[in-house]
Symmetry: C2
Subunit: 241 residues, 2 copies
């Protein structure tokens, strides 16, 4: 299980933590490959483990009795989720589904809790991560309130780029299904499709399947970031946790 230890120690939360401690955390960990569609847990389930994504994508969502669902987030490799359940009532606050076949490590929450209570560095890292997450959520609420569909897509695309300096043409690949992107952005697939066309004619981007190219990000930023309180290189929005 060296691999997990290495992965974990690269993670923000375990920054500057001793390997021995991380080793203890992983002691009862398991690695599993889950096919697309697997439900890892449901909202309200008793939380025994938290998870590290080795590869693939995982959707976090909440669902009403009649089946309507609200997507909380869609997480890529190297993300951790379910770890906040050590606080509060010990149940998962959302459901998790594998949306691209994934290799996932499960780690026991119990151990994490023990370590956090002893280890100041770990607790502080965790606080930092939570604060960062909180900002992202605030932004999310803002975006859904004041950006329209084409702008939300533009903003999403901007956050997918590596912020690399302007080098000739810029290419972005959608990381997963358009339908999923739509749900991530809180809109219907049909709306996504139409909004992407609008974005195209408004900013001059080129769309070919899941690949999007453009001459520079400026146009896109001008279009999308007009309806946002942050200014363009909105760095804190990048994925993390």
């Amino acid at each position: 299980m060296d691999k997990v230890i290495k992965k974990l120690s690269q993670h923000n939360i375990f920054n500057a933590c001793e390997e021995s401690m991380i080793g203890r955390l992983c002691a009862e960990g398991r690695e599993h490959t889950y096919p697309k569609g697997t439900i890892l847990f449901l909202s309200g389930d008793e939380a025994k483990n938290y998870f590290l994504i080795e590869s693939g994508w995982v959707k976090l969502y909440r669902e009403t009795l009649d089946g309507t669902q609200a997507v909380v987030d869609i997480l890529p490799a190297n993300h951790i989720f379910g770890e906040t359940s050590i606080f509060e009532d010990g149940n998962y606050p959302y459901s998790a589904e594998v949306v691209e076949t994934a290799i996932i490590h499960s780690l026991p929450l119990r151990k994490l809790k023990t370590e956090i209570e002893k280890n100041q560095t770990l607790a502080l890292n965790m606080l930092n991560a939570m604060a960062r997450y909180r900002r992202r959520q605030d932004q999310e609420i803002e975006h859904r309130a004041i950006q329209n569909a084409p702008q939300r897509i533009g903003c999403f695309l901007l956050r997918l780029t590596d912020q690399k300096p302007k080098e000739g043409k810029i290419t972005i690949h959608l990381p997963y299904d358009k339908t999923l992107v739509a749900s991530r952005l809180g809109m219907q697939p049909e709306t996504f499709s139409r909004a992407l066309s609008k974005l195209k004619s408004a900013t001059g981007i080129e769309v070919t399947g899941a690949t999007i190219t453009m001459d520079s990000l400026d146009q896109l930023a001008r279009f999308s970031c007009a309806a946002c309180s942050s200014e363009f290189p909105c760095t804190d929005l990048k994925c993390s946790t």
Copy 2:
């Protein structure tokens, strides 16, 4: 400044913390009365203080260049805000405006940071508070995604009640302007007005100015909670931090 110490020690974040430590936190604190409309700070300002509301109401919001604003939260007495700025870049992530004349204590972030780095209990309390806040924000996103305007109002009313057992008639007072409630719920004042009428005819509540009465909460819960992933006595949603 005994008053502040007392207030603080009742607060979740300082649960089980020594008075002496809280005393150190308050050392450079100040109390101020601010009239309605006062801007306490703007998003992006360097964060030197965090705040405790003694009385009154404070609106946290974010604003785009063209003046459109998204309300993040509206906080009542006994709430703390601005404290998360000790993490990350040290700037406030939102603006704060007094919306009902308020008495507010400002406390230096610097001292809080020092104490958090030393005091495990404090760090853990803070983690708990952050986790709770995170859940609330997740809920907020869900609500805005799947509840319609009348349901959002109903849900808001339910969260205002004291969860007291059914005793004859139930009375709820809106804590501030209808216009503000509307912005808190992410809708226009006009929409709020019309949605409240719909809620009235759908659930049989009585509305007189800012006072709302009904025979029982059941009707309201049945109407609003249908479009929510949590079941009715959704306790975690109650205010806190």
